[in-house]
Amino acid sequence: MVVSDESLLAAMAGGDEYAASAFVRRYQSRVYGLAMTIVGVPALAEDVAQDAFVKAWRHASTYDPRRGRVVTWLLTITRNAAIDAVRYRHDTPMDPDLLVGLLTLRDEGATEDGTDDLGLREALAELPPEQAGPIVLMTYGGLTAKEIASRDDVPLGTVKTRVRRGLLQLRRRMGVRDD
């Protein structure tokens, strides 16, 4: 029987070492993969991934299942830790076109847990670059619309419109699959 993410997290919050170990093993490739995608340096990605798991453990008791799945909660923690690391080092975020290319490659080794969404991957690939680029800069790079406008020398209103239209398009293609 597979223990649910929520049960593992609850046990981890209660100090269960076996649960913590199982939780880390279950998600380490996702967490490390996301950290690598954002920071691009293996040693730093490992630090970020470790930090993300420690933060998840510290805040496990505050996880609210009504606000999303455990995996997306954990990946949001990872993303924030990775963005902080990039900012701390004054690194520039990854080139958005390269990032879109990386995200839209079919990941043959992906976990077969139903969290991968082929429709979303295809939809992102089909978005015009002027929409996909700002979307990944915002969601993976942590840039605000203003920062993107300044970086790309595009009016702020144009960036906001492109990001919103792009996200709405992605949403339509994802279909209704929210839990």
């Binding site: 919050a13 170990s21 799945r69 969290t115 979307i135 993976y140 942590g142 605000t144």
Partner: protein, 224 residues
């Protein structure tokens, strides 16, 4: 501004809210509108779901070998007090208060060094640095105590004895004179206790005031 104009303005901010990158000012402006607009709330939920799903597209990669063991070691080396702090803070506070009370009582018959050891032991429970107590007074008599614990986190614990029953609003008055409402202490049959974590250092707490409808004002002066 008509409602549709307001919606249009907020919907421009929704992607940044969903991605968690909106400035505090934008967030405050949008949240004020979202509180009363179900359509915009729905759009925010949908966009947040899309952003979550986008993060799942990052390719998975196996970390270097031994990664899981290093994470577990990092977790184990954290003081276990973290968990206590989150889940059992108030119970821990009550135990600490009881321990301190016992230490002070025992003081009469013990030498100072033993008392100091006891005090250090109490503080070590939650990374504490010092502990203060002030009498809670109604202007005439003592009605209890407020205990302030400087640690991680810092907290206040109120005990009320022999005071009129009712719900007391508890306010923290800072050294700068600013008052912050921090909670409600229920007093039943003349007694009550209540505690909370606080974000300011104990040394910056000037007073704790408790007030309520048709109830006396109870005051604990930390700088008195």
């Amino acid at each position: 501004m008509t409602e549709s104009e307001s919606c249009r303005e907020v919907r421009e901010l929704i992607p940044e809210l969903a991605a968690g990158v909106a400035s505090g000012e934008s967030r405050a402006h949008a949240l004020a509108h979202l509180a009363g607009c179900a359509d915009c709330r729905r759009e925010l939920e949908e966009m947040a779901g899309t952003v979550d799903a986008l993060l799942l597209l990052a390719p998975e990669r196996e970390p270097p070998s031994g990664f899981d063991a290093r994470v577990l070691a990092a977790i184990e080396h954290r003081p276990t007090g973290h968990r206590v702090r989150n889940a059992l803070l108030i119970a821990a506070a009550a135990v600490l208060v009881a321990s301190l009370a016992a230490a002070f009582t025992w003081w009469r018959g013990a030498d100072d060094r033993e008392v100091a050891d006891q005090y250090r032991g109490v503080l070590s429970v939650a990374d504490g640095r010092y502990f203060r107590a002030a009498a809670l007074e109604d202007g005439v008599d003592d009605r209890g105590h407020v205990f302030g614990y400087q640690g991680r986190p810092s907290w206040l614990f109120v005990t009320v004895e022999d005071a009129p029953s009712g719900n007391y609003h508890v306010q923290l008055i800072g050294a700068d004179g600013r008052a912050t409402w921090i909670g409600l202490c229920r007093v039943r049959d003349g007694t009550g206790s209540w505690g909370t974590t606080i974000d300011v250092p104990i040394r910056d707490v000037a007073r704790v005031e408790m007030t309520g409808n048709n109830l006396p004002t109870l005051l604990a002066d930390f700088h008195g």
